[in-house]
Amino acid sequence: MLILFWILALTCVGASIAMVVTQNPVRSALYLVITFLCVAVFYVMLSAQFLAAVQIIVYAGAIMVLFLFVIMLLNLGAPQALRERGTLQPFFAAVLGTAFVVMLLLSNSLVALSKVRPAAPPEVYVPLGTVEGIGKNLFDPKQPWILPFEITSILLLVAIVGAVIMAKRRIQDHTP
């Protein structure tokens, strides 16, 4: 398992770095899909099967397709279109990013989670990630998730309306 983890982790990080480095948005999107798929596998390894499926369906299947769709629609694929100019921004970003990740790693090792609290045994967490476990919890009146769930539905509705309004071509734009 550990070997699998390392392979996936390196793939994941490598793909994400490649996503940032490459100049081609389509390739960026593909690398991101790889990252997402790796994360989905991590979910499976963390016994969150439902999330893994949703991750693939929503992120890889819908969101990234949407990205690709927009990239192709706007024909932004030409690599030279948005060439980066030389500024100090990447340098500072790299420095700060390094500092940030170093600090995050430090904080992880500092908190030493497994020393603070022992990990839960598998028989506790394994049922949680199934569709049944998620669903029962999500709609359990004793749990606080129903209201957020409903609000999320409203949020999605708003997003749909907003996206339609935003992307819709206004008629008066073309009348002289």
Binding site: M1, L2, F5, A9, C12, V13, S16, I17, M19, V20, P25, S28, L32, T35, V39, F42, Y43, L46, A48, L51, V54, Q55, Y59, I63, L66, F67, V70, I71, L74, L76, E84, A93, G97, F100, V101, L104, L105, N108, A112, L113, S114, R117, A119, A120, L128, G129, N137, W145, P148, F149, T152, L155, L156, A159, I160, G162, A163, V164, M166, A167
Partner: protein, 100 residues
């Protein structure tokens, strides 16, 4: 033996990569992708910690984060399309009305 810390470190690295991407890229679509990556890193943390503590809350958060991310992407891409329609470019450095 994969401990929770493995996942935490991994997500920290992914998050930072996403952050740097947001900072250095000029293509708003790619910036969006980097934000998605950051979200995923956070989600991974949540799931890992949820497993660590044997709680379902982590996964719940991720479900909501997914929904929010979907909404964000749809609206964000709508904005990008609108910007492209008016400015004929989406270079984020040319969308700079928020300045002196």
């Amino acid at each position: 033996m994969i401990t929770t810390e493995h996942y935490l470190v991994l997500s920290a690295i992914l998050f930072t990569v996403g952050t740097i991407g947001v900072l250095v890229k000029r293509n708003p679509i790619v910036i969006f992708m980097c934000i998605e990556l950051m979200l995923n890193a956070a989600n991974l943390t949540l799931v890992a910690l949820g497993r660590h503590f044997g709680q379902v809350n982590g996964q719940m958060y991720v479900i909501f984060a997914l929904a929010v991310a979907a909404a964000e992407v749809s609206v964000g891409l709508g904005i990008i399309v609108a910007i492209f329609r008016t400015k004929e470019t989406i270079n984020i450095d040319e969308v700079n009305l928020m300045k002196f």
